[in-house]
C-alpha cells in the first residue's frame, strides 16, 4: 500500500501500512532523522513536528491522517540551508546536552512563537510543558526561546 504525504514542501510516496506513525515514515522512509522516538505514546515530545503549522506528536499521527496536509520538520525550518532565527538561538545558547529532545523542543518553540510572537516568561514555560528533557538543559532551552522571541 502506498500513501502520499507532503513533507517540507515535497510529496513523498510512502510504501507501507497506512496506520504507520508519521515518525517512522519520516525517519525510515524519507530519511529525515531530526524527530526522535522517545516513548511512542505522545508523552515526551521528542517526535514533535508540525502538521499544517500546528505542533503534533508524530508518533501518534498515523500517515492515513495526512492526506492533503503539510508536514514540517526541523529540517524544514532551515532557511537557504542555514539555521533559522530560533534554531540559531538554540545554537547561540548551546541549549543541548545529548541533543535527543532538541528537535522536538525546536518544533514546539517554533509553534509557540508562531502563535504568540511576544510571549511572557510564564507563557514560554506553559507553552513548552509538553516536551521533556532528561539531561536537564531546560534553563538553556528557555533562554534560547527568549532569545529568539526578544532579540
Amino acid at each position: 500500500m502506498s500513501v502520499k504525504i507532503e513533507v517540507n514542501g515535497t510529496v513523498h510516496d510512502i510504501d507501507g501500512d497506512p496506520s504507520m506513525p508519521l515518525l517512522y515514515a519520516l525517519r525510515e522512509n524519507i530519511g529525515l532523522r531530526g524527530a526522535k522516538f522517545g516513548c511512542g505514546l505522545g508523552q515526551c515530545g521528542a517526535c514533535t513536528v508540525h502538521v499544517d503549522g500546528r505542533a503534533v506528536f508524530s508518533c501518534i499521527t498515523p500517515i492515513a491522517a495526512l492526506e492533503g496536509r503539510a508536514v514540517t520538520t526541523t529540517e524544514g525550518l532551515l532557511e537557504d540551508g542555514k539555521p533559522n532565527k530560533l534554531q540559531q538561538a538554540f545554537i547561540d545558547e548551546q541549549a543541548a546536552q545529548c541533543g535527543y529532545c532538541i528537535a522536538g523542543m525546536v518544533m514546539r518553540a517554533q509553534h509557540l512563537l508562531n502563535q504568540n510572537p511576544d510571549p511572557t516568561d510564564e507563557e514560554i514555560l506553559a507553552g513548552m510543558q509538553t516536551n521533556l528533557c532528561r539531561c536537564g538543559t531546560h534553563a538553556a532551552i528557555i533562554r534560547a526561546v527568549k532569545r529568539a522571541a526578544r532579540a
Binding site: 497506512p18 496506520s19 504507520m20 505514546l41 508523552q43 499544517d52 501518534i60 499521527t61 492515513a64 509538553t130
Partner: protein, 421 residues
C-alpha cells in the same frame, strides 16, 4: 367611575405594590470594616479555611483564565446571559476587603452582598447555606489571608429582565432552603459528615443535578446528571451510578483517577485537583455518602468489547495509529493511566460530550500531581476523523445506540479548545 378616578386608583395600587415589593426585597447594608480594624491573622484558622476552600472548589469559579487566584472575572455562560465571578480577595476597592465576617456569612447563607444587593445563584449559596458557623468562620479567615488583588471585574451580560437583581428575591423565596441539615441517627458519623459536605460546601448537585427553567436544581431529579460547560456531569444516584463503590469514589476524588473507571476530565479534573489538597477523611466521607446515593451492588464496570466492528479501513488505521497502543489492552491500565476503553463509562454515556472532549483536549490537569495524562488530538485529527473514531469506540465498547449530534459536539469542542490558546 370617572376615568381619572380609575387612573388614581391604579397609581395608588401600583405604589402599594411597589412599596410592598421594596419592603420584601430590601436588605440593609452592613457597615464597611475600617482599614485599621482588621482582625489579626490566625494562621491555624486560615489553614482550616484553606482546606474548606479546596472542598468548596472556590478558586475554580473565582479565578479567571490566566487570572490571579480568587480575583474573579471568570465568564460563565448561562441560559440567562454571561455572569462573571466576583473578586473575593481582601482588596478594599475591587474585592471584599471591607466585608466583616457578618457580611461574608450573609453572602454565603443568603446570597446578599455587603451593601444589601442580591447575588445571582450561579454562586451556589443555596448549598453554602448548609455550612456551620465554624466553617464559615474559618473560610472568612482564609479569604482574608490570600493576596489582595486590584481587579475590577467587568459587568455581567445578562438579558432583560434577568439583569434586575431584586427579582432574585423571588427566586430565593422559591428555591432557597436555609434550614440546616439534621444528622440522620441510623447512619454513621462519617456518612453524616459526607452528607454535610456534599449537600453543602462541596455543592456537587450544582453540576450533577439538572436545572429547571428558572435555573434552580430540580429537587425531583437530584443527582440525575446534567450538562456543565459543555461537559456531561454524570448521575451520582440511581441505576446509572451503580457501578461505583465508596472506595473507588474516594480514590477517584482524591487523585482524579480510578483504575476501574478512568480519569476525571474537564471541570471535574479541577475539582479533583482541589480535593487532592483537602483532608483525606473529608474526601472519604464524601465518597461514602455519594456511594450511598445508589445501591452499589456492582463493584465495577463489566467489560464490553464487540471486537469486529464494521468500519472503514481508514478509521481502522486511525484507531491503530493513534489510540490502540494505549487504550486497546483490556487486561490492564495503559501508560499514564490510559483506561482500557472496554470499561470506559464515557463511551457508554448518553451524551458524547465527555468522550469527544477527551479526544480533542486530552487530559493535562494532573501534571503537577503525576497523575493521568493524555495528549489531545485536536491538531492531529479532523472533525470527520474524530466523528468516525467516536462512533467506532461507541460500537465496539458499548451496547448503546449510535451517538447523535456528534458533529455539533465536535465542532463546539474544537472551537473551545482553540479558544483556550
Amino acid at each position: 367611575m370617572k376615568p381619572w378616578r380609575i387612573g388614581i386608583a391604579v397609581l395608588i395600587a401600583l405604589a402599594i405594590i411597589g412599596a410592598v415589593a421594596f419592603a420584601l426585597t430590601w436588605r440593609p447594608e452592613i457597615s464597611a470594616v475600617a482599614k485599621d480594624d482588621q482582625p489579626d491573622m490566625d494562621r491555624a484558622l486560615a489553614s482550616q479555611g484553606y482546606a474548606l476552600a479546596q472542598l468548596g472548589n472556590c478558586a475554580s469559579c473565582h479565578t479567571a483564565k490566566d487570572g490571579e487566584p480568587y480575583a474573579g472575572g471568570l465568564a460563565m455562560p448561562t441560559p440567562f446571559g454571561t455572569i462573571r465571578s466576583t473578586n473575593i480577595t481582601p482588596d478594599r476597592d475591587t474585592g471584599i476587603g471591607t466585608w466583616s465576617e457578618e457580611a461574608f456569612a450573609r453572602a454565603m447563607r443568603k446570597g446578599i452582598d455587603r451593601e444589601g444587593g442580591y447575588l445571582y445563584p450561579a454562586f451556589p449559596y443555596n448549598h453554602f447555606t448548609k455550612a456551620n458557623d465554624d466553617d464559615i468562620h474559618a473560610l472568612y479567615a482564609f479569604l482574608r489571608s490570600v493576596p489582595a488583588v486590584d481587579h475590577e471585574v467587568a459587568a455581567n451580560d445578562l438579558t432583560f429582565p434577568f439583569n434586575i437583581r431584586p427579582l432574585i428575591a423571588g427566586w430565593n423565596l422559591l428555591f432557597l432552603d436555609e434550614e440546616k441539615l439534621e444528622p440522620v441517627s441510623d447512619q454513621s458519623e462519617q456518612w453524616n459528615h459526607g452528607r454535610y459536605l456534599v449537600e453543602g460546601l462541596t455543592h456537587c448537585g450544582a453540576c450533577h443535578t439538572p436545572r429547571n427553567i428558572m435555573g434552580a436544581e430540580k429537587s425531583s431529579e437530584r443527582y440525575q446528571g446534567a450538562m456543565i460547560d459543555s461537559w456531561y456531569a454524570p448521575p451520582l444516584s440511581g441505576d446509572a451510578a451503580r457501578n461505583w463503590n465508596a472506595k473507588q469514589l474516594g480514590n477517584y476524588l482524591a487523585t482524579g483517577f480510578n483504575q476501574d473507571h478512568g480519569a476525571a476530565a474537564g471541570p471535574m479534573a479541577e475539582t479533583a485537583v482541589n480535593l487532592s489538597q483537602a483532608p483525606p477523611s473529608d474526601v472519604e466521607a464524601i465518597a461514602v455518602y455519594t456511594a450511598s446515593l445508589s445501591d452499589d451492588k456492582n463493584q465495577s464496570m463489566t467489560p464490553i468489547d464487540n471486537q469486529e466492528v464494521d468500519v472503514s479501513a481508514n478509521t481502522q488505521n486511525l484507531w491503530v495509529g493513534s489510540c490502540a497502543k494505549c487504550h486497546e489492552n483490556s487486561a490492564e491500565v495503559g501508560p499514564s493511566n490510559a483506561l482500557p476503553l472496554s470499561i470506559s463509562g464515557a463511551v457508554r454515556q448518553s451524551s458524547s460530550a465527555n468522550a469527544v472532549r477527551t479526544i480533542v483536549n486530552g487530559i493535562d490537569a494532573y501534571r503537577d500531581m503525576g497523575g493521568a495524562y493524555m495528549p489531545g488530538f485536536v491538531d492531529i485529527l479532523s472533525d470527520d476523523e474524530i466523528a468516525e473514531l467516536a462512533q467506532y469506540i461507541r460500537h465496539r465498547y458499548s451496547n448503546e445506540a449510535e451517538w447523535s449530534e456528534l458533529d455539533d459536539v465536535i465542532s463546539k469542542a474544537r472551537s473551545s479548545a482553540k479558544g483556550k490558546e
